[in-house]
Symmetry: C2
Subunit: 228 residues, 2 copies
């Protein structure tokens, strides 16, 4: 291959890969990817959770779709968006990892909003694998029930953090509780652990989230009769 066509080849390749880069160049789109990593969701639902207008969310989802990072399934009035495949979540993981490793501001933001995070004694995936078979431990999925239905750690109980305080009596105090949620920067598990401890429970959080657990090749359970 001569120099000119070599350069043309590289330009065409990078022009393709940059479609992915461009799709990642907006904070709303990153948040959408983060939400979609949990379960498929409708446009309006995503717009509401991410604090943006429906039209704006729709446009960003179309941008993500153009880069093939998400897919959509139509059902009646609704469009259910989902991540295209696990490679997309791994890409988001890679960004998170660079941010954690390289951007001091990420840690600063976390410290500002969650000042006593170190005290939560996060449990690693390896530790959690062991604890799954320990009947002195309860694993709690504190995400919204929808996301639990879309996939959860085998044996975990569904108890969304919003309902936790009202349903505390369901949890025995003689067992340690490991709460998990969407990911390392999700506050649900942090809040659950704080609440549980305030009520006299022994509690810790899983360091990561359900999608990280899944792409690590660890087992995920799904309730029957739900959407594929």
């Amino acid at each position: 291959m001569n120099n000119r066509s070599h350069r043309a080849f590289k330009e065409q390749l990078y022009d393709q890969f940059v479609r992915i880069g461009r799709a990642l160049a907006n904070p709303h789109r990153l948040e959408l990817l983060d939400l979609l990593a949990q379960s498929e969701r409708t446009v309006e639902d995503l717009a509401h959770e991410a604090g943006m207008s429906v039209a704006n969310a729709s446009q960003h989802l179309q941008t993500l779709r153009a880069a093939q990072l998400v897919e959509v399934r139509r059902d009646g009035l609704y469009g259910y968006y989902r991540l295209a495949d696990d490679s997309v979540f791994r890409l988001w993981q890679a960004i998170r990892d660079v941010g954690e490793t390289r951007l001091a501001e990420v840690e600063r933001v976390v410290r500002t909003f969650l000042d006593d995070r170190d005290s939560l004694q996060a449990v690693s995936a390896e530790e959690l694998v062991e604890l799954l078979h320990d009947d002195r431990v309860i694993v709690l999925d504190v995400r919204p029930a929808e996301e639990y239905r879309a996939g959860h750690i085998p044996g975990a109980r569904c108890l969304p953090v919003a309902e936790l305080e009202a349903r505390l009596r369901e949890l025995p105090k003689n067992r340690e509780i490991i709460a998990y949620c969407r990911g390392p920067y999700c506050v649900f598990a942090d809040e659950a652990v704080a609440l549980l401890r305030a009520h006299g429970y022994r509690a810790r959080r899983f360091a990561q989230g359900l999608p990280d657990w899944r792409v690590a090749g660890l087992p995920v359970e799904r309730l029957e009769g739900d959407e594929p």
Copy 2:
């Protein structure tokens, strides 16, 4: 945490992570990252190889630096840029992986410029690990010598593809040759294999590149007395 501060937290987090996304939103910057994955290089050198003006390359490198994806070391008149750490290469790998998995156009571009690629019978990292200890095999690093010096597969010979034809007599015909280069989309190894076969050698290429080998935790050799 109340809803308002929860949203502020998320916004500040995604605003940080998107610094990384934005840095990846330009084809020249992707190419610069790809080149820097091999070895540190000067601005002028990078500009020349990536076919851009020096001022433009300098600006893009500064953008990458602002996102903490690259670092620079000054030595006299020169600034030597390098990837900040392995997490940055893994991020580029993740983009490549999504592109390969999701973008049909990537495969189309590869087919257009390298039409008989399947015939190269690429060797996986696992296979190559075995072949390293096989004395019927020669492993050939066909990248520029600079990149070989910055790190190569133990036992590999340095024979840049540009010099290959002139130095064919250095290679015995009774041994199989495995050529490797910068990565899966680099044409150096493809060209080396084609040339070698045309001269009666048995030759295949390594499917990936040296940086992929390195971050897979496989051994890398470095010549003494070179830059850190």
